[in-house]
Symmetry: C2
Subunit: 199 residues, 2 copies
DNA sequence: TCTGCTATTAAGACTTGGTCATAATACCTA
DNA sequence: TAGGTATTATGACCAAGTCTTAATAGCAGA
């Protein structure tokens, strides 16, 4: 039963190698594992791994989506609870892409962005602009930690809302901020078809 | 000279369409422009546009790089001048990926991130952490505008630095903030091989 | 030893989305 | 009518696969 062991071993390594370099072709893989192309194809078939071009295509789509959703996404973090004009909760799973490689410490602007997004989302208006923000970083956040931000509208006078946001990991406070968010009726010449959204 | 006009027109549109959807094939393009596949290929040849698969490949590579550099990059914006412990200037070219689609208004956290990055970069220490930040958004920024952030260390007492950042577009102030940045000697158990970097 | 099983390799036909070279045709204009 | 560009067609070829069918190798148990 030695060949079978060799095979399962190869299958495991195959997954690793392809994950490491999704652009690799069957020919290259065959060469790498010193087997025939057909064997590699059978292996891929068995593992349900698509061909090189398909992998590349998916990567391209996913990556472009990622850039759009992370960078342009309407809200940073998942809104798991929102009472418009009152309070809300947002969850952000941090990962290594948000952190410094060397320290694994999540960059501050992600934490800020989550809080800011949540503050803006609470304001019941077509367009909401952050005017000022006062924030405190209470302790560094490591990649992989789950940020739970809770926000509450402290006061409102006309179009001006004061929103308090507290971000925790478990029971520990890691960030606190106060945002002044303005509700705007008209786009003020900044857009033609705008509905909502600043910050 | 009508066909020539039609052609240059088609070439312009071709660039647009491909930019809009890089995954599109020659066959689809031919169908779209109501010309033969050969014409599309000649057009691409003339414009130096690579084939669909090549475009996809580049996109995948570039996008994966982009996610890393934009998200993980040590500094948001280009540091064009830094006097460690004193002052610095950073430039950030905004684009539509940083803005809301509907309004073309750049999301606040990018402006914050540039200012914060610059503030941290000025502090001459192995590791620098932002403690607090007080910021004001003075007017919305449209995608495409060039943000010039100037920062100056106002005061320093021990490891605590107060950094003032002003961001302008041309001569107009769009953002102002004050950051308290702490210089840290030891990683305080948050990392093993850390050198510099928080926020 | 023969049979059966898995693993591997091979061979062949077909697909997609092209490249490259060559030739034919269409259209317009001087 | 000749010359030019623009367009289309044709055919050979390629990379990197798919899918099917078949041959071979190596070992294990009856």
């Amino acid at each position: 039963m030695k060949p079978r062991l060799q095979k399962t071993d190869r299958l495991r390594r195959l997954v690793e190698v392809i994950e490491d370099d999704p652009f690799i072709t069957d020919r290259e893989l065959a060469c790498l594992f010193r087997v025939s192309i057909q064997t590699v194809r059978l292996d891929r078939l068995e593992l349900g791994i698509p061909e090189s071009r398909e992998r590349t295509r998916r990567l391209a789509k996913e990556a472009t989506n990622k850039v759009r959703s992370v960078e342009t996404g309407e809200v940073i973090g998942d809104l798991i609870h929102v009472k418009l004009g009152q309070e809300g909760i947002s969850v952000l799973e941090t990962d290594k892409d948000m952190a410094f490689r060397r320290t694994s410490i999540v960059r501050g602007h992600h934490i800020f962005a989550q809080a800011n997004s949540l503050a803006v989302a609470l304001v019941d208006a077509e367009i909401a602009l952050t005017g000022t923000a006062t924030v405190k970083y209470l302790r560094p956040v490591k990649a992989g930690e789950r940020l739970v931000a809770k926000a509450e509208i402290l006061s409102r006078s006309g179009r001006r809302h004061v929103v308090k946001v507290t971000t925790k990991i478990g029971h520990e406070d890691v960030f606190a901020g106060e945002f002044t968010v303005f509700a705007v009726e008209e786009p003020e010449g900044y857009s033609e078809d705008s509905r909502r959204g600043f910050n």
